[in-house]
């Protein structure tokens, strides 16, 4: 991952030196302790209770504090970071990023995942249903999605234990149980809800920035053989519930302003609750695979700019039936894929249904999905108004064999 820009100022939670985890931002190669800054009074007047909000082992209170608090803290941080005279006030609260351990930054309330890439949905239809490769009937009318398992959202760096499950051999029809034979990744863009909504009310697309604090990078690990067997008629379940990795740092919405793009023109006017569409985001992903101990291969570079449904539409859709939103809700785009092979965000698509192997720089190949020991890194960046790329961090996970207890990073 590149150095963090001095304008991104993402939110995370880190620990170092045996102290309890605390909220931080990242600047350059350093973590900057937000609880420490609050204790020094540097957020006084910016929000009601800086220390109560920030001296906490999660970002939960900060998320719930809402847009004026988010904006106030961000404005103050921008001021401090760009004021040479403030350097001595920041210094005691800086710690090199490679000396801190990120933890999951917030309590994930509900996790929903969408299916917003036309190219991904089309590829999946073509691979799985070659006789009828049309998109699902509802796909262009609403953001199709499902709920995932919030309790298995893990922070980047958490090892991913290969899941076991039942699958049917497509050739013989035989049903067997065992470690997944087609373990896959999904490159996704996720959004974190700070401010919830009440049961029985709806949320317009125009209220996106009142509710969403920022974006994370998501790897929605998927066991494709388990998925193919279990998913009718209630959707993916154990094929995805074993782990979903998120980047440690939430990139504030304001830091993504330069990435805003108009979403693709829809084929017909949207339903009332999905209009206006709001902004798309040109987030450029890089999907890398490094076999255990070997060099890394860039597999693809998907871009979220072309997604059919915007995050504002996804949020409005989630609440359009009167469902409440809660602080900590996470929702993600679904696999981001583009029109070319180089833009495919899953191995299912890159290998075109496990037929066309992906070549790695160490000379090995992957035809059937991830091997044990493989480390997957999804990085992302946006392009600033001046043309410079601005990194958004990365989400990393290494596959460990079934039966290996997935040891969590030291807490």
């Amino acid at each position: 991952v590149g150095r963090w820009s001095t304008t991104t100022l993402p939110y995370g939670v880190v620990r170092w030196g045996g102290r309890p985890p605390r909220p931080a931002t990242a600047v350059g190669d350093d973590a900057l302790d937000l609880a420490g800054l609050a204790r020094d009074g540097l957020f006084d007047g910016v929000l009601d209770d800086p220390l109560g909000t920030l001296e906490h082992p999660t970002l939960d209170r900060f998320l719930a504090a809402g847009p004026s608090a988010w904006g106030g803290i961000r404005a103050r941080l921008l001021e401090l970071v760009h004021d040479a005279g403030a350097a001595d006030r920041l210094a005691p609260h800086l710690r090199p990023l490679d000396e801190v351990s990120p933890v999951l930054a917030w309590t994930v309330a509900d996790y929903a995942d969408f299916y917003s890439s036309r190219e991904h949905a089309t590829n999946v239809s073509r691979i799985f249903r070659p006789d009828d490769p049309s998109l699902p009937a509802a796909w262009d009318h609403l953001p199709i999605g499902y709920h995932g398992r919030a309790g298995t959202v893990v922070v980047s760096g958490t090892p991913i234990t290969r899941p076991t499950g039942l699958r049917r051999d497509p050739a013989t029809g035989e049903i067997t149980s065992g470690p997944s034979l087609h373990l896959d990744v999904e490159v996704e863009l996720g959004w974190v809800v700070g401010v919830g909504s009440d049961l029985g009310t709806t949320v317009p697309t125009t209220a996106f920035a009142d509710h969403v604090v920022g974006a994370v990078l998501v790897n929605d690990w998927s066991a494709r053989d388990l998925q193919a067997f279990e998913y009718r008629p209630l959707g993916p379940f154990l094929a995805k519930s074993f782990a979903t990795s998120v980047s440690p740092w939430i990139v504030p919405l304001d830091a993504l302003a330069d990435a805003r793009v108009a979403p693709p023109a829809p084929p017909h006017p949207p339903a009332h609750h999905l209009a206006p569409a709001g902004d798309g985001y040109a987030v450029r992903f890089e999907l890398e695979l490094a076999p255990g101990g070997s060099a890394s291969t860039v597999l693809s570079r998907p871009d979220a700019a072309g997604l059919r449904w915007t995050p504002a539409q996804q949020l409005a859709h989630l609440a359009s039936n009167g469902a409440s939103l809660r602080t900590g809700d996470l929702y993600a785009s679904g696999t981001v894929s583009g029109a070319t092979r180089e833009e495919r965000g899953s191995l299912l698509e890159l290998t075109w249904g496990w037929t066309d192997p992906v070549m790695l720089v160490d000379g090995t190949r992957r035809r059937d999905g991830l091997a044990d020991g493989d480390e997957v890194t999804i990085g992302a960046s946006i392009v600033a108004a001046d043309g410079e790329p601005i990194p958004l961090g990365e989400v990393v996970g290494r596959v460990v064999p079934t039966g290996t207890r997935g040891h969590l990073p030291p807490q």
Copy 2:
């Protein structure tokens, strides 16, 4: 609902007299304040920190305390309730149930819902796919399920706002948006996880009682028109996420001992992680519908005894891919339906796809699902060894029109 037996002793959280909510049990027509008993020292020696565990606005700490604490408290309560000499020690902590307000008793972590009734799955296949009414390929091999929205699990009594959404007219193909035209109920048996499990590990069916504290009654409200349009390929989403009602009282596993039955013989040996099957539970439901202000009609009496998958199998399946369980996880059976019309647990089935109206005692009929103002009550009981029915409480919800803010019970 009948008077609570002196042997059931369910766990709930109630409020009265402007005090914060507190854990309670129910005996006869009274709530018995567990925090009060703890304060009086009546649980001393029974668990490590009775007051810290029980003087809390939810059951979360009690759930996490595990089977020995659950068993200890239950044994002590049974002793106190059946000891005439203890009456004066209990008296200060009793309050008539009709003077207390139940609140959601615990923090729902993840909510998963299964599809365990062969008759329900068969009916749905026959109604929706008459040309190919076979069960899904995986149905007899594993407990098919999906994740629901934990944040919209509500306590019995919470009004249910009719959800709005997109649906396709089956006759014309026209896609419109509006309040659901086919609002339905699902009679379900739910289970509450007290003790979680670690990521990357599995849970055998034989460990069921080490993890699950007890059962609740569930109404998994469903907007069938929305569901039919949105569910391919990722399963039900907004059609169910607007609300799931649960009974206020968790019935302890030990109180269900007399209801244990052998599950139906499976058509083939189960996969390794689903054996041994564990117990089925003969829980007899009663589904009632009362139009606003009118008398109640019993629509059906499903029985959970015949479910294909046991709660122990469902729990083991949830964790079989290495997914962690958490304190507060809720999982439910899916609609409980039996072989006859009188045992169908949803209006979709009772009206056979909105063709055969249900007649109500007030002379009205329901062909297309619930009307605004309808109050649905799902009650349940088991039969004790001596043949006496033992009530398990009820879950109630009244449908309010779209646009009516769903006012929650006073908190």
